[in-house]
Amino acid sequence: MQSVLNTVKGTALNVAEYLTPVLKESKFRETGVLTPEEFVAAGDHLVHHCPTWQWAAGDETKTKPYLPKDKQFLITRNVPCYRRCKQMEYVGEETLVEEESGDGGWVETHQLNDDGTTQLEEKICELTMDETKDEMHTPDSDKSAPGDAVDGEDEDDDEAIDMDAFEESGMLDLVDPAVATTTRKLEVEAKASPAAAAATTEAFGDSVLHTRTYDLHISYDKYYQTPRLWVVGYDEQRKPLTVEQMYEDVSQDHAKKTVTMESHPHLPGPNMASVHPCRHADIMKKIIQTVEEGGGQLGVHLYLIIFLKFVQTVIPTIEYDFTQNFNMS
């Protein structure tokens, strides 16, 4: 139901966005919002300090005039995501970052130690192994073509198309000794995994079966005048994840509420998962206030770094680069 509301609201907001004038004056300090120029400055800072991020131009037909042509949005690709959210939820203590909880309260479910690892690593590893078998039987794991896994679940109502009829003989007549027959290592690993699961934790090591990867985008939301985070995930065979699968990587407090499926401003194609920006400015304002109370000052160029830190509570298992530090006091 929430998602229907979101869709309706989303459409209305598209109209509103169209009518909203581009923010000209900096209101960062008072309200926590950004002008497009400030977004670009903060983006440049992020790209400079976290080299996995880069600017992207997006679809040429969707270029927004208030942003430079080659700096439409920010992107980082192939970010690893080693485990599902539900595997870590309720394992660790949650800390409420904000007092007024309500629907959109930011809950920190995941705390990193200084060295970037979690103290819960071992427990999680055990859980991972237990669930290996379930994960093996994802419906789209071997049948569907790369790319069509956007659907994944029900292909039964499609009439079966006989692709064999398209095969061409005669083209293999040319003997080509220089072609290697290759099997992707990942697939080999996946097949061997029940054995691997039974083996020691060490052998399991880094090649955990369900390593998904995510592409993260940060666009500028003209209506809310804040950055907006988009995520698109792929499974270990680099097939796009379904919406439901993607919600497994979103903190359950946020799935379908803070994280919604909407159309990306710079991309053609299906709706993408996005962290709804309606509360970003409020949170940013709180952070600015905290810093200023402590006698410090927060430059607008740090906006995206801070932004990435607070959206981490929504997607705690996606290990993107937000390593830059800033001082709260």
Binding site: A57, M163, P177, A180, T182
Partner: protein, 318 residues
């Protein structure tokens, strides 16, 4: 596999990896711009040599942009799409002629030496497609044309870059290389002149210095085999400098891991003993159609109904 004997060097074939946004953009272009025209369109693809999986050539919505800007740590490939109007046309088209026509474009780039100015021309690919816009099914077949030249013989074992003496010097030189010129380059290493190690562009190639060269390229293969694109690279070098025939050429496949270390980079020493004239285009045979999922010569199909069909979209949004 790499024993001391003279093995034939084998290449890891490209695997196409198409993002759903590619089909969405194609559908949009077909409905709003191309309509009944089935003229070919220039597209671009990209591949990465950072933590490569398989040997992927990726295509997404940016493939249709007029100025291709490959993602970070990726390199551009030059392509064409032939989108047919009907499934019958798609099926009936003479695939071998199409491959050889595309292959001849590649040869002319090699023979005119346009490659020296823009080495990405060596990574030419094309897509034959049919978009069934009513059923939201997309039939497609990628091909990566490559002249069928005499085989390269592998000399000795495949070496890792990190196993070379002075490998840190090599790494240092490679790090100074601008990201946009990493797709194809020359690493010059002269042991006599107090260890000069530097990178150069393909256009500065001097045939008399061949023994000091490593022919470098960004290698998107995760296997011990070099990626398919090295085949075109070797064909180009042997065509451009016929005196290379019979000489040992050193190829360096630049491979990064997630942390951008290049320890996994491999070096192949190869020899081609027979000359081959690619200017006589009529005699040259081409290979390069991608196999389908079953390992057969055939196209692939992807059903995009769940993200394109309005009825499905309405259903899923409740």
């Amino acid at each position: 596999m790499s024993s001391g004997s003279e093995d034939i060097l084998q290449f890891a074939p490209w695997e196409s990896f198409v993002s759903p946004t590619f089909w969405h953009k194609l559908a949009e272009l077909k409905l709003d711009y191309d309509r009944l025209s089935d003229a070919q369109r220039s597209i671009s693809g990209h591949y990465t040599n950072r933590k490569a999986t398989g040997c992927l050539l990726e295509a997404d919505y940016t493939s249709f942009n007029s100025t291709g800007q490959p993602p970070k740590f990726s390199h551009a490939a030059v392509g064409t799409i032939y989108n047919k109007n009907t499934i019958e046309e798609f099926k009936a088209l003479d695939k071998l002629t199409l491959l050889s026509n595309e292959g001849k474009k590649l040869l002319s780039d090699m023979c005119n030496d346009r490659v020296a100015g823009d080495p990405s021309l060596l990574t030419r690919f094309f897509v034959l497609s049919f978009a069934d816009l009513k059923c939201h099914s997309y039939y497609y077949w990628f091909a990566f044309p490559c002249p069928l030249t005499p085989t390269l013989k592998l000399q000795g074992a495949v070496t890792r870059l990190s196993d070379l003496t002075n490998s840190s010097k090599y790494a240092e030189a490679l790090q100074s290389l601008a990201p946009e010129s990493q797709n194809f380059f020359i690493l010059y290493a002269n042991g006599q002149q107090n260890e000069v190690v530097e990178t150069r562009s393909l256009s500065s190639l001097n045939e008399s210095e061949v023994e000091h060269y490593y022919f470098g390229f960004a290698d998107p293969s995760e296997y011990e085999h070099p990626a398919w694109l090295m085949r075109n690279y070797a064909a180009y070098l042997l065509q451009r400098f016929p005196c290379f025939v019979g000489k040992t050429l050193r190829f360096l496949g630049l491979r990064y891991n997630q942390q951008m270390q290049m320890d996994d980079s491999l070096i192949w020493n190869v020899v081609q003993s027979e000359a081959c004239d690619l200017t006589k285009t009529e005699d040259v045979k081409f290979v390069g159609w991608e196999l389908n999922k079953n390992g057969k010569m055939g196209p692939r199909m992807v059903c995009m109904r769940d993200s394109m069909d309005p009825a499905k979209l309405a259903e899923n949004s409740i």
